[in-house]
Symmetry: D2
Subunit: 345 residues, 4 copies
């Protein structure tokens, strides 16, 4: 059994990790760390998990590392930096669901997150935890920077096109719609039920922190600098992101030939579902799961591909993707513990 | 033109009052008082009201009274007590949307709201602002205790039965379902969109502060003490209360004869809509309006009436009822400014 | 492996059965029967299940029985009657999620469902599939009448009180709030998203078909005739029922002593979660699961208990309860395949 | 008083027209025509309008024309063509909320709507009813093709840029998110509450019927052919469209200089609200109103403007825009009857 611990276990991502790791046949949950809820049972913090025996405690990072084989850090930026050296020294693995270990270029991190990075050497060896792109590196990694939710949905939309070199020019337009859980378990009147029900609205236009992460990974795939215009929108669903991505394609391609690139790139992927022509991805078909559904449309006149993806921002966009990485790191079947299908309706 | 001011104008009820009073042909909005938002324009606080010219300011109660003919107090309990003596002294009118002036028995107020009442003499002359029950007293009043949302929905369900003396025994069961706006514009993670969407749940069972207010008014109507078992539920709608009320009826009545009592009691009422057999009230048909829809069912075996009512908790349950009272107090057509129909769908 | 088939597999309950039985380690899904969708893959009918290999087919009842050890009938009333004699003759088991095998008294069935019952002898031996009440009979049964969703939520609220004989009088008031999925996968403008979003409304007041089923089981538990006033409400959630049940209690009881009755009655039950004082059940904490959460409040003045329960109408109210019955009938661990926790948020 | 009639009055747009025209001080509603609901009262078809005295009737087009000064046709394509010659002959006005009179090029209409156009001469004189672009023509028109909801939101996003000639190239990307009411009052299981709640999904990608209408008007404004990539999405709100529009801009512009173009173009417009930097339009702030909120962002590196607009698809996108046209056609104050502010929350 793999001993797993969660730091920052009382937020939405933490709760999803508890649900998944509790149900994982090869995992024993040994630590649920939370400052706010220390001393409370899991059921007091997550009514859905009433009846489960776990208790939140407040432990020092050293103690958490000592009691676990792998630590999931589901906390704001800056926290995982404190765990990484301890985990490394103890030969343990760490999966950070925040941004501390996602960037190749430390200055990008420091510019966007406004704090210095305390362990650049570990940043250098950390792996961006997107299995469909970096699987073999993940298998050998001890520190994972688990991708952000928006980046996951956008990179998966474009990886086959960028790797095949069919992009015309270097500009991508990504128009994303996210459920509210992406903002976390917030005590903020702006996130009150009454303010967001029946509301659809762009926010953080051209300024979202996920832009540098998206551009880093797209550029790596393209082998050249890729610029992204990114517009996130808040939509009144609890879970789910739909990203609609517009990319100009070099002459000579069709919906079919581009579709072949997707089929090749994602051959054998357990969590990618490519939809047939006329079918489009939606949040409901992926909620609570690790799936990413992808559709492809193509306008030959404008030579532009319209790729739409749907993921659960707390699933493939956070917790279940982290478990997928863990499975790969520990040599398990990649789908174990995260193979469940969404509820319908 | 009646000069109207609002104290506590930045909450949900305050916003609804602004919308209604701005559109009222006989009213000029002269003061919008808010400590938190002083200096902001209305559109910065209520995006729906962008384009309106009002500004929030922080004024002393004396100043507000000086600039208005009628003050609407949309603030937590304890606030209106500070305004009432000033308004009285200045010969102005005050409509309190909180509980300070709803109770006949000061000890009930003090027991439930845990603060002493600072002006018992004004409490004694204040009128409970439910026009369908206390219209003539409202017309003469200078201080109104505007009813709570749940009490409005429950008293209107029972007034015809209690006044006719057909209740068997003294126990009422009232099972109410309320939209989330009833809790106000709260920065509380428990009211986050994600926590309440898809959620239905009882709360405050047998302990809600509206119980004494309900029992006071039902007992007045019955001419005898009436006991109420009240179970409020939170339902995932923004606006609206549906109350389903169960009352044991003396022998000898039928659905038809009870229906006649409703028809008589509410004859000519502009905001009561009695539904035919088989039709039941819902939140959508009243949202944004001052209507109260009422249905009546009767089980002859159990000799029990099931009366269901629907109101908008911010409308007939708060702001538009307050405007209805104002219209009556100033001798205007009772429906002016609040005659709008709900949106559909 | 148990060979399981589903007749009427393309509705909401059918889809939930597919999800659960596909994930059940001791079950092989051998038949998905649907007239409407014959020839379609599962993913074409349930986008959530894209990637699963099953196909809908239209088979004669005889063929379905031949290919299965247990048949789940998720079809309108009248259908399961056609399967029961075939299953019986072939020594197979049948679990009907409709009403055909829920009634002890055939005339009650025929009065409420307006069709003659074609196999009264099988009705007589069928067992009402509520494990917490009829577990040992279920273990020996070959035909199960799986309980309705409302009855499940109401019977579980009252079983401890009725069995202990503490009810004063014979009248129960049950006020239930149900998610829209209870109405099925309907092409009816009245169930359009726009008509039900933001809507809360009673319906079928005093006339719902679940009343005779509720009264049958409550009366059995009480050992005497129990009368129920039942008011169902539609609330804008997808899944979930909250039932708030009011029962007059004989003198001499308290919240604590009544609570002890619940603790005793439900001791060791894997899917009943009794909530502590001040905590109340909600739809989100049970959605997608087989749990029933129960709270108890007591008003000593009115000597009335207020019991609130929450279930998922498609889970404990239909599909997962049917799987729970199957587990019992086949001697498996009762929780296998249905032990998952709800998503949160 | 203007005598107004509605043909196809029982759908969502029809209901909104009834609400608005009933409240319009210069209008008398003389005909509500509906085949399906002939003989029913308004309150039976729209529970929100209970208490209103109108009756649906089934009248021949000639009769409707005879009883009205202006006919609103809120019916599927093909219907208004039958009314136009009658209205013209009788000297009456007609406002079609469908597509029959929106196109300059009859072949475009016939290609997209698959029926022949029966009165091309009237098509030629009809005016596209977008007041902010065609006000003076509307004032003189007798036949109005009221714009589609998506086109309204997209044309208003671009008119200032196109008219000023700052577009670089001829490609527009328009990513729109629409509430479900845009699909009408449908009995279709795919529009069931359970299927669309918690769902976000693109549909009709690159194939929507509003594309030719959008391109016609954008090209007119630009004085050159403009190509639009249009991706509509369904989002789980009842009312509202947010369109996020991406347009490449010629060198030399900034957020400020582009903002000035908007300020000039929309100077004095009663229903356009231009938002300040950092503020973005949402569905709630416009629901139930005739407002169009507009934000502007600019990425200088990509020289691309991101313009976001929000309208109510049944308001500015249909019914209240039609009333705005009527006001202009009859020489009334343009805002009369449609000046109401949205509910909040």
């Amino acid at each position: 059994m793999i001993k797993a611990g969660i730091a920052g276990a009382s937020g939405y991502t933490g709760g999803e990790l508890i649900r998944l790791l509790h149900g994982h046949p090869d995992v024993e949950l040994t630590v649920l760390s939370s400052r706010t809820y220390s001393g409370k049972s899991v059921g007091e913090v997550f009514s859905s998990l009433r009846g489960l025996d776990y208790q939140f405690e407040e432990l020092a990072p050293e103690e958490i590392v000592a009691e676990t084989d792998v630590i999931f850090v589901a906390a704001p930026h800056g926290v995982a930096m404190g765990y990484a050296p301890l985990a490394k020294a103890a030969g343990k693995k760490m999966i950070d669901l925040g941004p501390d270990f996602r960037f190749k270029d430390i200055s990008v991190y420091e510019q966007w997150y406004k704090i210095p990075h305390s362990c650049p050497h570990l940043l250098a060896e950390a792996v961006y935890g997107l299995p469909e792109v970096h699987r073999s590196a993940i298998a050998k990694a001890s520190i994972i920077g688990n991708p952000g939710c928006y980046p996951t949905s956008i990179i998966l939309a474009l990886a086959p096109l960028l790797q095949a070199g069919v992009l015309d020019g270097s500009l991508i337009i990504a128009d994303s719609k996210s459920g509210v859980s992406g903002a976390g378990r917030k005590a903020d009147a702006g996130y009150n039920f009454c303010e967001l029900t029946q509301e659809v609205r762009p926010y953080g236009v051209l300024q979202h922190r996920h832009v540098p992460e998206i551009e880093q990974e797209l550029s790596l795939l393209a082998g050249a600098s890729v610029k992204t215009l990114f517009t996130p929108h808040l939509v009144p669903v609890i879970r789910g992101i739909v990203s609609t991505v517009y990319a100009r394609i070099k002459p000579g391609y069709s919906r079919e030939s581009l579709g072949d690139l997707f089929a090749q790139y994602y051959r054998g992927e357990p969590f990618i579902r490519l939809l047939g022509a006329g079918s489009h991805p939606g949040t409901k078909a992926v909620a609570g799961s690790n799936y990413c559904d992808i559709s492809l449309d193509f306008d030959p006149t404008a030579s532009t591909a319209v790729v739409a993806t749907a993921i659960d921002n707390l699933g493939k966009g956070a917790a279940s993707q982290a478990v997928q990485c863990m499975n790969i790191m520990f040599g398990l079947d990649e789908a174990v513990g995260i193979a469940g299908f969404p509820l319908f309706p």
